[in-house]
């Protein structure tokens, strides 16, 4: 309910910022894509539909008004399913593999699995520096090397990192980072393993 209200309010507010002509091009772009694309494998045509967050970010060039962003971030925060057992730390060794693996969610993959039958990857190294031994890392995200050492290992930090991986938009509405739990890309167990990669004192990340 809340989400819908915020969208209507937000879209109306942003429509003013977006010129009428730009809105025409945007409408044309969307209807053109809906005409020109076709579903392939698990990638259905519904993937071209914007959800609330995407729409607000698109309309505001990833720079939404502060009040609106806070309100929508709150909705995203409430969407996060934290582990029922209250534990956030899994196995960092397994987390490292998930961070390395970049496959999943494309035409050739299956629901929740890659085309090779492995669980989806997080492709974290595509964007972040993480462990000390992997020099092949991307630069879209910030460095996460020594994450626990710098930021601390406490329960609050564990909860934050779990939530950030589950839904990055809960903390930064138009973040470039995907919402790995929200999009059913990664399972609860996989996210715990990634939290361990960043926050287990024994993980190479914190050596």
């Amino acid at each position: 309910m809340k989400i819908i209200q915020a969208t209507i309010f937000g879209a109306a507010a942003l429509a003013i910022a977006y010129t009428a002509q730009a809105q025409d091009y945007r409408a044309q772009a969307i209807s053109m894509m809906k005409r020109d694309f076709h579903a392939k494998g698990i990638a259905g045509m519904d993937r071209l539909d914007e959800d609330t967050v995407q729409k607000i970010c698109n309309l505001s060039h990833n720079n939404p008004p502060k009040g609106l962003a806070e309100r929508l971030q709150q909705d995203q925060l409430e969407d996060i399913k934290y582990p029922a057992d209250g534990k956030f730390l899994g196995d960092w060794k397994s987390g490292e593999k998930i961070a390395q693996r970049g496959r999943g969610m494309t035409w050739k993959d299956k629901d929740g699995k890659t085309s090779r039958g492995e669980p989806n990857g997080g492709s974290c190294y595509n964007c972040h520096q993480i462990g000390p031994d992997t020099t092949s890392f991307g630069s879209i995200g910030n460095s996460l090397l020594h994450f626990g050492k710098i930021r601390g290992y406490g329960a609050d930090m564990q909860k934050y990192v779990y939530g950030k991986i589950y839904n990055a938009k809960a903390f930064n509405l138009c973040s470039a980072m995907p919402r790995f739990g929200h999009s059913d890309t990664l399972s609860e167990e996989q996210i715990k393993d990634l939290v361990a990669l960043l926050l287990d004192p024994n993980s190479p990340v914190n050596k």
Partner: protein
């Protein structure tokens, strides 16, 4: 083609025949490339020795030229249900005028009342002049180990006729300006399970996925990457690809559904990037990592 480059092509075709004779099959450019590569790794064979001799020249002359030669042959041959050549195809500068046409596309064409990029226009000519069916051409439009589709060689040939020229994608016609603006919206449109748009990966300077540099295609300096080296012979996989393939594969990585081959969506994206690249000099079909 300069005489040195011509010699390379001739030499490579010679090798191709040697390889083909060995393998007992006819050689398409793709097989030539794959087999010469294979031959080079078997360093002691006679073919490899022959290949080594040409290696230095090879590094200057791109394997893309093999596809240019193949494309030229296809352009001039009478083919298709209408048994016609493509020599009357109008790429915007008049029927049959190829020199400089590639660096001025995408552009508006009055006969279709549409903005079309090079591959879209060539496919259109194959349909209207030669009688091929667009649906057939769209079935397997990208190079594979077993086949380089004809439009790929044709685009490479046409692109070669703009080597060394300045990119000048036109913005005079209102539909050309519409294509740019719509292309920009598509470029920035975030959607799908991972919330990606083209701009997520190509919308700022100095971005990398792992160690691969991602050009900022929204900038004047970066947009040249959407032209330079394309169509390109990809070292990874050893296949010749056009921008239709590159954009298709980026939409896959974007976790979107699949865009239609030579669709208006892709033409508009190419218009957006092409206009951003205006003024840069196009070096011709090339090699890609």
């Amino acid at each position: 083609m300069s005489s040195i480059k011509l010699r390379v092509v001739v030499a490579l075709s010679g090798l191709a025949f040697a390889c083909a004779a060995q393998a007992g099959q006819t050689a398409t450019p793709v097989k030539v490339a794959a087999q010469t590569k294979k031959a080079a790794s078997k360093s002691r064979s006679a073919i490899a020795a022959e290949f080594e001799k040409f290696r230095d020249i090879m590094e200057e002359a791109s394997p893309a030229e093999l596809f240019e030669a193949k494309g030229e042959e296809l352009w001039k041959a009478k083919r298709g249900p209408k048994n016609a050549s493509l020599e009357k195809c109008d790429l915007g500068l008049g029927p049959g005028v190829l020199k400089g046409a590639y660096v001025k596309m995408p552009r508006y064409f009055a006969d279709t009342d549409q903005v079309m990029d090079a591959e879209r226009r060539i496919v259109y000519c194959m349909v209207t002049l030669q009688g091929f069916k667009e649906a057939d051409l769209a079935k397997k439009p990208f190079s594979s180990a077993s086949k380089t589709p004809d439009p790929v060689s044709l685009v490479t040939y046409v692109a070669g006729q703009s080597r060394g020229m300045k990119i000048a994608v036109p913005q005079k016609h209102p539909k050309e300006r519409d294509a740019y603006n719509t292309g920009e919206e598509i470029f920035n449109y975030r959607a799908g399970p991972w919330d990606f748009s083209c701009a997520t990966c190509h919308g700022a300077d100095n971005l990398r996925i792992r160690t691969q540099d991602l050009p900022n295609l929204s900038s004047k300096e970066g947009a040249i990457a959407a032209f330079q080296g394309w169509p390109g012979y990809r070292m990874t996989g050893g296949l010749m690809h056009t921008l239709q393939w590159r954009l298709n594969d980026c939409f896959r990585q974007q976790r979107f559904p699949e865009p239609g081959y030579v669709s208006e969506t892709l033409s508009d994206l190419l218009t957006y990037m092409g206009v951003n690249a205006n003024g840069h000099v196009y070096k011709g079909p090339g090699i890609k990592r």
